[in-house]
Amino acid sequence: MLSNFYKKFVKWLCMYNLYEDSPGKKTLMMGNIAVARGAIEAGVQVVTGYPGTPATETLEALSKVAGKAGIYVEVSTNEKVAVEIASAAAISNLRALVIMKQVGLNVASDIANVINLSGCNGGLVIYIADDVGPLVSQNEQDTRIYSRLMHLPCLEPSTPQEAKDMIKYAFEISENYKIPVILRSTLRLSHMSSSVTLGKINISRNKPNFVKDINRYLVLDFIARSEHEALHKKINKIKADAEKNPFNILKIKGEKNLGIITSGLCYLYVEETLKHCGLQDQVSVLKLSFSYPLPTGLILKFLQNVKYVLIVEEVEPVLENEIKAISFDNNKKVMVSKVFGRNSGHLPWAGEINLIHIAKALSKISNTELHLTPDIYQKYGEIEKLAPPRYLSFCAGCPHLATFYAMRKALMQQGYKENEWVVAGDIGCYGIAPFSAVKMMDTSFCMGSSIGLACGFKLALKDTPVIAVIGDSTFYHSGISGIVNAMWNTKGIVIVVMDNKTTAMTGHQPNPGVSIRIDGSESKPIDIADVIKGLGIKFIEIVDPYNVKKTKDIIIKALKYVSERSEPAVIITRRECAILSLREKRKSGQRITPFFVDEDKCIGCRICTQFYGCLALGWDKNIKKAFIDPKSCMGCSVCSQICPSKAIIKKEESN
């Protein structure tokens, strides 16, 4: 069923020349795909990770050539497990790559903060895509700060070409020094496409080999201390590589006044600003390839040549603060008198950097006027404001939407008012709920957190009904530990697991609840209900959210159950993601019979559009009746069940 979709995907990837062995060929590649290609060129053997924008495409791309390239690729249950698997593989001398988005490292930080001590034998590279802005995440945390905490070398490419080449270099550093290496990207680079020149694919493979050594792999207190010291020595040695490698760029220009130090994609913003302002021959530039450890020698050389230096980086003032320290320590040697950046207030200390920010900072530092944009902003605004907002919305027929509708109905039917319940949300497509017509969900923090939060809300607000909602992928990722806690520490909360049989938000990657893994191989699905039963939880109901009344009744039953005892009740609302089922229906040639609104019966109450709000529903303001767009309708029947005047019917029922 999914195989057709995969075939199409493979074809699409071939266009990216992912596994083509033609060194020297120039091809259009997205940053994430270039990372995948670089890993193949480096002879990677084991790839693990967990999906998350903006890093997902690398994991997907590698999974599609896994068989052909002889690479093991898996979607792990979460980022911590992913790092653990890759660590053991790399300790056993294999080359391993872990892929995740920035917040994934929070989950993986426990193991990453120990594996740094024992190190690896085969290369171990962790590819992390940060989301500056943030544009698609809950925060814009800066991985470069973790690299300092963990003492892991951190490389920052500026272009897709560098991303491809640097990942090979990262494997070299990792194997030379037996240390895991972080390759850090940001969303704009991960999703940017440009010309990439292919390199040779390394077909030699490391031989698996585990040499027991408790002084290295048994990281206990007394071992950790000496390993910590050893780690610092490694980092000091790696500084030599940070000083000298083909990815650093040093340009000394002009009157020896003004210089910019930068890293990653910001280098492109810097070059473009200088070009547009005509300052390319006046401002010196240093682009760093390692953001940890910093090449002190190279930085000093730069600081000896400029008087003022602006640090352009995303997103925390990491380089800025360390470069300030370097110039302070060497104040006799350097010419620089001031270091500016996000900390000094010359650049904003949140969000993405753009050319205007850089030009403004340069203007301020050099006391000159620099102009970058046309002075007709107001007119632009007048056109812009005509565009109606296009918020994220639930897809037509989304089972999550139906669940939330039934949930609100159940709570209201039990006599609760809006401010008398708490719905602790989680991370996934269901996060759209508060911005949709159903307007449900009061909190959203990080993956798996809904259940622990619900336990805490119950503790604080004893008589308030508390519901946790969590998706299937998130349940396996980090929800299980919360449920165990709710049961053992006896919390009367309702847990709704929205089981749409996929990881929808990040583009439909498989999770342990399905039978086909990301590389197309088969596995035995793990049923969420079985897991819950195993914990001794007695209230477990599985319901199809497309059945509105039944779903509502079960939620009411669960609310009553938890109000009478201190024990969680679990409801699994199970229905495949509407996009996936639509895709399958189209492939297998099944016809979808849309519903329609019988205008004679529609009383114009707007319950369907204002309290449910499926994407396929509309409101005709001329005749004051609802209508259904037959092209978007999935035929799920939910709206027909909620219509009080039975005006929504299926096409065939009408005759």
């Binding site: 007709i376 296009r390 897809c395």
Partner: protein, 199 residues
């Protein structure tokens, strides 16, 4: 052909084929030895969200994002989406609009208003006189597949002879980047678009 900087912003709704156009233009540029940078803002594209691609040619285009007011062309696959991305356009830059609207949910459910298409089209005159409107969706529907509207618009753009890429390379790139079974139809759509301004 040579250029030091040429920028195209393509705006539309997820599913309209914004990213395919970017790929066609990007591959064509590489074939001609032109430096290219493409930046895409998506994520919600699968779900009918707002999508924009920035395609940048020439060695002075460094970053994947077109700085405000530097796009030579704004190609709108949907009218309000073009309005949303107007900030990219140069004063008096070229706007090519598909006279077609896709209502967001809030509009469908009556909670928000979609201005009339003529009002939207007229608003672009505040910034530029170079506005070209095309009924690309109608043409594509007549050809048998609404998804071809993006290629019709690409044809219109190519017909105006402003691109730093030869028509031949562009045609080859379409051929190489669309599904095999759709090649001939796509070439037809391109030709119709091309001839609209180049009879």
């Amino acid at each position: 052909m040579k250029t030091t900087e040429f920028n195209i912003a393509i705006a539309g709704v997820g599913g309209q084929g914004v990213t395919l156009l970017a790929r066609i233009l990007g591959n064509a540029a590489i074939k001609e030895g032109l430096s290219v940078r493409i930046g895409e803002v998506y994520g919600a594209s699968q779900r009918g969200g707002s999508v924009v691609s920035h395609i940048r040619f020439g060695e002075n285009a460094f970053s994947p994002i077109i700085p405000n007011g530097r796009a030579d062309v704004l190609l709108g696959l949907e009218v309000s989406e073009a309005a949303r991305r107007i900030r990219a356009l140069k004063p008096n830059g070229l706007v090519i609009l598909n006279v077609y609207k896709i209502d967001p949910v809030e509009v469908k459910t009556g909670l928000s208003e979609y201005p009339s298409i003529s009002r939207l089209v007229n608003a672009f005159k505040l910034i530029t006189d170079q506005i070209i409107t095309v009924n690309a969706t109608d043409i594509a529907t007549d050809l048998g597949d609404v998804r071809l509207s993006n290629i019709v618009l690409l044809g219109v753009l190519a017909g105006l002879s402003v691109l730093p890429i030869s028509i031949k390379t562009l045609r080859q790139s379409i051929w190489g980047n669309v599904p095999l079974a759709m090649r001939n139809l796509n070439m037809k759509a391109f030709k119709i678009g091309f001839n609209l301004r180049n009879p």
